[in-house]
């Protein structure tokens, strides 16, 4: 792999960028691999990278029906945080934040992780009590947290609605200073380039259409380019997890829904942190280009349509204007949707699928961008060693049978 550096940037600047070369190869698939990974989103690519880097398994194909990073990884609003309620979740998402902290260096690719903080607003005295509970839970979980009063929130985000007649007056907030945003495409591209350099074949425009099964064991996949056999198969297909499970003859505890997001025209800097108002359900940050990036709740109609509906658009934009009325004249540039894989407890599924040889890393729903490094790291550990990492153990599919759910939807009122 040709290393990127300030010196290279300077040199290529003088040469008109002619020496950069391709960031990854476009290989023809072989007939057989040690591991086949279905889906080249962040989780598929990071699974491949950590299998190669941490466990020396490099004979891997990542098979993608479209282009790499073209699923939810390239459609999300890039909030990264670990301010969860339960210890299991805090461990999982904080592993991810820690990996993100070193990721640009590790991948030799700038993923633009900007730890600008993430504030969750409280709009009443009862909400302040719940905020204190959340703050305490975070501290007990060993996660950085600050409990802010209204004056402090105002200092950090003067653009919010501080009028006396605000329908949702701001009483305070819980802040996670290490939270922030990253560059979604760069995460996919960085992992792809680093995995490719370790020998991983990334096969794009190749849909997996079926599994090869022998004696009840999954021994490979059927694809648009023909049969590919493999020792182990991992599915990292987010909103399409149930479709993949259907091919292997089982069902998952997942519903697929559209989640929408919005970006405005670029404006001068008005907000240098991520803000979420659970009361109205909208969250927002400003990208380095100046675009105001925001989103809210799921559409309520199960969908594979990859576009959103009007009622939720109205609720998200209306909610935003309640706590940031100054944005009422802002013009939207784009709006889009992605299909997310929602579990009953809003926690992911990592580990064996129940079908021999087939593994899952899915169920991340509305919040799996922040978890891309951890999801790949932990599934790679599970596949290579045959044992769960202690952090991924609680997120095994078996929790739906034992009843040990990790109900973050109820506990922390999660948003993305």
């Amino acid at each position: 792999m040709k290393r990127y550096s300030a010196w290279q940037l300077f040199r290529e600047g003088l040469r008109g960028g002619k020496g950069w070369g391709m960031a990854w190869r476009t290989p023809k698939p072989k007939k057989q691999y040690d591991v086949v990974i279905i889906g080249a989103g962040g989780h598929g690519l990071s699974t491949a990278y950590y299998l190669a880097k941490n466990h020396g398994i490099t004979d891997i194909a990542v098979i993608e029906k479209g282009w790499l990073g073209g699923g939810n990884t390239g459609r999300n609003t890039t909030a990264i945080r670990s301010n969860y309620f339960y210890p299991e979740s805090a461990q999982l998402y904080d592993l991810s934040v820690r990996l993100y902290e070193g990721l640009s260096k590790d991948l030799n690719y700038n993923v633009m992780f900007s730890q600008r903080g993430m504030m969750v607003l409280a709009h009443s005295e009862p909400e302040m009590e719940m905020a204190a509970r959340q703050y305490n839970a975070m501290r007990l979980n060993g996660i950085d947290a600050e409990f802010l009063d209204a004056k402090e929130v105002r200092k950090r985000a003067p653009i919010l609605n501080y009028r006396d007649d605000a329908r949702y007056p701001i009483h305070g907030a819980v802040n996670q200073p290490r939270g922030g945003t990253g560059r979604h495409d760069a995460v996919a591209w960085g992992y792809a380039r680093a995995a490719d350099a370790l020998g991983v074949d990334i096969i794009q425009n190749c849909e997996v259409t079926d599994f090869l099964m022998e004696g009840g064991r999954c021994v490979g996949v059927n694809t648009a380019f023909g049969e590919i056999r493999s020792g182990m198969v991992a599915a990292t297909v987010a909103g399409h997890s149930s479709v993949i499970a259907g091919m292997a003859g089982f069902k998952l505890p997942i519903h697929s829904y559209a989640l929408q997001a919005f970006v405005s025209e670029p404006y001068k800097p008005v907000l240098d942190t991520v803000v979420l108002s659970p009361a109205v359900g909208t969250y927002i940050s400003q990208s380095d280009k100046g675009g105001l990036v925001f989103g809210g709740a799921l559409d309520r109609v199960p969908s594979y349509g990859q576009r959103g509906n009007m009622p939720v658009q109205e609720a998200v934009i209306g909610g935003l204007l309640e706590f940031m009325p100054a944005l009422s004249k802002v013009k939207l540039l784009r709006h889009w949707g992605g299909i997310v894989d929602v579990t009953p407890d809003s926690s992911p599924i990592i580990g064996p699928s129940g079908v021999d040889g087939l593994y899952l890393n899915c169920g991340w729903g509305t919040g799996g961008f922040k978890a891309i490094p951890a999801g790949g790291y932990l599934l790679a550990h599970r596949m290579a060693t045959g044992q769960h990492h202690e952090i991924s153990r609680p997120f095994d599919l078996d929790r739906f049978t034992t009843g040990r759910l990790i109900d973050e939807s109820a506990a922390s009122g999660i948003a993305h």
């Binding site: 149930s242 479709v243 519903h255 109609v301 594979y304 509906n309 009953p344 739906f400």
Partner: protein
């Protein structure tokens, strides 16, 4: 705005409707001992199909449950059937 049709009230705005569950699941007989697996499958396993789906929805305005058939990719509505008749 998507329009769904309540078999009793006619075509209405999607905001008046609530998704309940996939059609065709029957609750295991809990008077007898059932396995954890069967109970978990009843509670949590979904077909979650891409394409033609059959679902139970409620029209929250009149409170009636009915069978909605639609396409989960194009969002086209293929039909609404009252459960009272269909269940007989």
């Amino acid at each position: 705005m998507q329009i769904f049709t309540c078999p009793f009230c006619g075509p209405r705005d999607e905001r008046e409707f609530h998704f309940i569950a996939e059609a065709g699941k029957t609750r295991p007989d809990t008077l007898n001992q059932i396995s954890d697996e069967d109970w978990a499958a009843y509670l949590h396993s979904h077909r979650n199909e891409k394409g033609h789906v059959r679902e139970i929805w409620m029209h929250t305005t009149c409170g009636e449950l009915f069978l909605l058939e639609r396409d989960s990719v194009t969002m086209e509505v293929l039909g609404s059937t009252a459960l009272r008749e269909a269940g007989q």
